[in-house]
């Protein structure tokens, strides 16, 4: 999306992720109010519009979240659904309102509670009107087939895939928002139970609940709010997945390749200049492929990029500094907004115990959405943020 004027992030919020007794609306309200308070907003009248991403929790989710915050009746609240991409898409739409002068300040929120509703021991799947879903398709299987093919073509092993989990969970060890952080041996990861060959339990994101929120505003407003560390939105791209039933290379990802190329073009920032990256690491294989798809390294060099330590603290681009979905779990409507909240906190040097040093200046986020047959993913949302102080 071409930004017609400068857009800044004033404040962000995120809940602790994990199994919650609080429903999505309470989680969403906590994250939204954190974001509001950290933006120095002194009353509900300043919020021009709000977008809320959610996938499974029902109808009028946004209005339910915001009823206590006092903008029901004063601002349009629009609910956004595109499976895993919903939260980031909500932020994109808030950015669009500010970029095109419709509002001076808007909010994007992602919130989801799975565990109050969902039976454990089953996998997420596309809707039942999808031909792959009817034939047993599940998201774990879709990623597992990418892993099977990648291993077939490159000779990579399950142990190689497990290194992704090991890295990300080590990153999250001191992150209080991430329930799965810690030191895991490769054996811990590959010996956990098989979910979808070759993906074992610890190579899959957990089914959890949580929320994230982002307040965006104009240049004039960011000054008025007195924000000391404004984060500038350098690019915000939403795409839909190319649809066809012909053979495609699933060790690549057409929609991620397309979306990242558009984001680099829009922001004027290339892949080698990105300091930190939160990506859609719902399963280990995805992160490995996306190093290549996003041009962090050459095609075929993903494993080398990981092994050489280029995607961890001290490396070229710290991938999943918060621990990613592999350490947070993945409440699907929430993750995209939570990734952006975590990136803003890294840029501001607020991540005590898991802060990337030197403090990063360029942060990228990436979240795909949906398992529509005929596409790799139905949607993809990416953002590029820089520190601007």
């Amino acid at each position: 999306m071409k930004l017609e004027r400068d857009v800044y992030i004033a404040g962000v919020g995120e809940t602790v992720f994990g199994k919650h007794k609080m429903d999505y609306d309470e989680l969403g309200r906590i994250a939204a109010f954190q974001a509001i308070k950290s933006s120095n907003i002194d009353g509900p009248g300043m919020i021009g519009s709000a977008y809320v991403g959610n996938a499974h929790n029902g109808i009028v989710t946004g209005q339910t979240i915001f009823k206590d915050i006092g903008i029901c009746g004063t601002a349009p609240i629009i609910n956004v659904e595109s499976a895993c991409s919903a939260g980031a898409m909500a932020v994109h739409l808030a950015i669009k309102d500010v970029a095109y002068g419709l509002t001076e300040l808007s909010m994007g929120v992602g919130a989801e509670n799975h565990t109050l509703r969902r039976k454990s021991g089953t996998a997420f799947m596309p809707a039942m009107n999808d031909i792959e879903a009817v034939h047993g398709g599940v998201m774990t299987g879709k990623y597992a087939m990418r892993a099977t093919r990648y291993m077939h073509e490159t000779g990579a092993t399950i142990e190689d895939l497990a290194m992704i989990t090991q890295k990300s969970r080590r990153h999250a060890k001191n992150n209080p928002h991430a329930p799965y952080g810690g030191d895991y041996s490769i054996e811990d990861i590959i010996d956990s139970r098989m979910i979808a060959y070759p993906l074992t339990l610890h190579q899959c994101c957990g089914v959890v609940d949580g929320a994230g929120a982002v307040v965006v505003c104009s240049g004039e407003m960011i000054k008025k709010l007195g924000i000391e560390k404004p984060v500038k939105v350098r690019g915000s791209v939403v795409t839909s997945g190319p649809y066809h039933n012909r053979p495609r290379d699933i060790t690549g990802d057409d929609i991620t390749e397309m979306t990242s190329a558009m984001l680099y073009e829009e922001s004027g920032i290339g892949p080698k200049d990105v300091d930190i990256l939160e990506l859609h690491d719902a399963f280990t294989i995805a992160e490995l492929l996306y190093y290549e798809c996003m041009g962090l390294c050459e095609k075929g060099d993903g494993l080398k990029f990981l092994r050489d330590g280029l995607s961890t603290y001290g490396g070229q681009c710290v991938v999943s500094p918060r621990g990613g979905m592999l350490s947070y779990g993945h409440p699907i409507g929430a993750s995209g907004a939570a990734q952006m909240a975590a990136n803003v906190k890294q840029l501001r040097g607020e991540c005590n115990g898991y802060q990337v040093e030197p403090v990063p200046k360029v942060a990228m986020s990436h979240v795909t959405g949906g398992g529509l047959s005929g596409t790799e993913h139905a949607a993809c949302t990416m953002h590029m943020l820089t520190s601007d102080w």
Partner: protein, 142 residues
């Protein structure tokens, strides 16, 4: 027969065959998948897309697709959809017509390999609302 008719009166029975647009099981001969070739631009698709996403034509010729293809990738699934018995196996099969089919694979876990030849078969893929097996296409080793 009499019993069946009785059920029909009470409620429309759930289908036991997934979709006639997808698969033909002839009385004699082997089952085949039905490709849809756009009469205007020639694009071939499975499953049927209407209108043709390239030229928006709504006229198609039905073309029987090859019964053998290459297993591009697969996964043995130990955690599956709610209600499906595990483990089961899914895979992508590439047909010579440049069509990729997602399907369940008939066979045992730990036995499939990428790039091996598989052939069309049929079998129960799930149960319908009445608890009866739904028959659809599957692939198995040649």
């Amino acid at each position: 027969m009499a019993e069946k008719k009785k059920i029909k009166k009470e409620k429309e029975p759930d289908i036991t065959f997934f979709h006639p647009d997808l698969l033909e099981i002839p009385k004699e001969g082997l089952p085949y998948l039905k490709g849809y070739k756009c009469k205007k631009c020639g694009q071939l698709d499975f499953p049927k897309l209407s209108p043709c996403p390239t030229c928006w034509s709504e006229d198609f010729d039905v073309v029987p697709l090859s019964r053998k293809g290459n297993l591009y990738s697969f996964s043995d699934l130990y955690i599956g959809q709610p209600g499906l018995e595990t483990p089961y196996i899914c895979g992508y099969v590439d047909l010579p017509e440049e069509i990729r089919i997602f399907a369940m694979l008939k066979g045992d876990v730990n036995t499939f390999k990428c790039d091996e030849e598989v052939e069309l078969t049929t079998g129960p893929i799930r149960k319908n609302a009445d608890g009866l097996p739904i028959t659809s296409y599957m692939f198995q080793k040649v």
